[in-house]
Every structure is written in structure tokens, then in C-alpha cells.
Symmetry: C2
Subunit: 187 residues, 2 copies
């Protein structure tokens, strides 16, 4: 994804909240078309996500409790970039913490803005193959409530099309991965 | 998508920002697993999106300037629910404003959380067919900078897989629509 071709002019910046992972700002900006507008935004360092595929072709996912929906979502493992981390560092760390695996092979599948109306978060999506379970997984974050599940690509696609509770980044990343999954299945 | 099965216990609510379209809050919550955590969140009324398909099978989209990426994203028309609006009301209004069309036939394709880590926004996705251009389109919002473009489903899928600047809701909604687009193309 090519970014940053047309920076707006920053007229006024207001920081409303400084958080552990991201900030919330309201900025007055002038667009390239000369119109002015307020942009209320999460200022986010970015997120990294893995589509982890076992040698049998199954996907390793998490079912995670999310306040946003007062319930559990089916998601690919993902996490917020910490300071000095590159997306691949982040996701190597996160899949150990969230699903208890390492992957020998990583393929970048592209990146996309998650919620550009009010966030500058970019999701960096990777295909993770040659998985190996780790013997002593690191402890999960105390405020995360999730279970690890594995399912086939067909099962996941059926769940997406049936309207199960699955978030946008997981749906988008599955379809970025699908051409690779089909090649792997044909081997 | 089935929601609201497991509400957390709200321990403390702090409103940091009250906006025109959404608020920003930081809430202290107790999860069903008894852990406590802060949830920093955009409280959002929801968004509605259309995948508008012409009788020739082309998709009508917008290329919109987004501060988030300092440039333009290829997106399906979408908008935030206003008070008293249902998702179908919102998207009927938005496609007139954004692309200058009405649609006779609307099919709900499901809904998904956009960014559940920090937002409760749900995107309601509709397939819009039997499009008709309107003679005098309503004026666009002054702070929106967008052009209308049409492309085939194959062109859009190639753009997604090539890593063009396309956001998560647009990628996810395209793939929710794809089975319907294939049926339409076979008619």
C-alpha cells in the first residue's frame, strides 16, 4: 500500500488522551482540496496479524472476549506494535503469546488501514507456515480472555459467509491468504 | 452476528471526548473471567456500507482522501448512522450523497465489528442492485474529498491482492458480496 502522497496541513492539534498503546487526538486540518475539517483520531503505531497454517492445512485462531461486542470474536492472532518493533517482530512475539506456536516461514501478504475514518492504524498481515508448538508458552496478558482453536479454511469461510462474529481484519486477512492457502493445499 | 451474550461489569466510566459522530471513553471493566481491564474506546452508533452493482455488473466505488493515510483510499460508499436511523436508512442516504445513485433492491449481507480493540462500531453491509442515477445529487459534506469510480469485480479483486490502498471494511465487504456477484454474473 502506498501512503503519504498528500499530507494535509495541520492547523491545530489537541491531545485528549495518552494511552499505553495509542493516543486520542482531535486535529484541525486543511485538505489538499482546501476544505478544512476536524479529524478525531486514534493515533496508533500499527498492528501485525498472522494467518497461521499448520502442515495439515488448518488455521490456528483465537476466540477472544471483546468488550466491543460484549462477547467473543473469532480472530487471527494479532497485536499492537511496541516501541522499536517492526511488524514481523510484533507478530513473532504475539503468536507465541496468543497461540503457543512459532513459525519458521513468514510471508508478508500486504497491509491495509483498519478504520481510516478515526484511526491511522495499519494492519500488517503475514502468512505463517512451518508452525511448531512451543513447550512453555509465555503468559498471556492478564486482561485477555481467549481460547485457541483450529479450523480448516473451508470451515472459516463458511463461518464468515454465515455471519458468525468475526472482525473486519480477520475477514480481510483470510481473503488475502486464500490464494496462498489454495497453493499450499495443491502441494 | 450474535452479540451481547456476556456483558462485562462496568466499574468506572470516563468520557474524554464527545464528538459529532462518536465519543471517546475509557472504561474500567471486569471481564467474565473476573480479570479487570481498561477499555479505551470509540463509542460509535455503527456504520452502513453498500456494494453497489450496476446492471452491467460493475461496482460503483469512491476514491476518498483520508487523513489516516495522508492520501486516497478506494472504498465502498459508507456512512455513520445518525440518530433514529436504521442501517438501511443510512446507506440509502449515503449512496445518493456519495455516488449519486439510488438502488431499487437491497440485500443485507451481514455485519461485522470494524476495530474491536478500541471501537464498538459495527459495519452493516448491503448489496445494492437495480441502480438508477439521480438527476440532482445532494451536496457532499464539505470536509469530504472524493471521486466516484466504477470497476469490475475482477479489477477490484486484483487491486486488493496487489496491495493497493483499500481499507479493511471494503476488502471484507467485497468478499461477503462475491458469492452474490458470481450469481448475478451467471444470470
Amino acid at each position: 500500500m502506498s501512503l503519504g502522497q498528500e499530507p494535509p496541513q495541520l492547523l491545530k492539534q489537541r491531545l485528549f488522551y495518552e494511552g499505553r498503546k495509542f493516543n486520542f487526538e482531535v486535529n484541525r486540518l486543511r485538505l489538499p482540496n482546501r476544505a478544512e475539517g476536524d479529524w478525531e483520531c486514534i493515533r496508533h503505531p500499527g498492528g501485525a496479524l498472522a494467518v497461521p497454517v499448520t502442515t495439515e492445512g488448518d488455521l490456528i485462531m483465537v476466540r477472544q472476549y471483546r468488550f466491543a461486542v460484549l462477547g467473543r470474536l473469532l480472530e487471527f492472532p494479532a497485536g499492537t506494535l511496541e516501541s522499536e518493533e517492526t511488524p514481523i517482530d510484533t507478530i513473532r512475539r504475539e503468536i507465541q503469546e496468543e497461540i503457543g506456536y512459532t513459525a519458521k516461514t513468514w510471508l508478508p501478504m500486504g497491509n491495509f488501514p483498519l478504520a481510516p475514518g478515526y484511526s491511522d492504524e495499519i494492519i500488517y498481515a503475514f502468512l505463517a507456515t512451518d508452525l511448531e508448538p512451543i513447550e512453555a508458552p509465555p503468559a498471556a496478558d492478564a486482561d485477555e480472555d481467549m481460547e485457541v482453536i483450529s479450523l480448516s479454511p473451508t470451515q472459516l469461510e463458511n463461518s464468515i459467509l454465515a455471519g458468525e462474529a468475526i472482525d473486519a481484519k480477520t475477514i480481510a486477512s483470510f481473503y488475502l491468504a486464500k490464494p496462498y492457502l489454495e497453493k499450499l493445499a495443491a502441494l
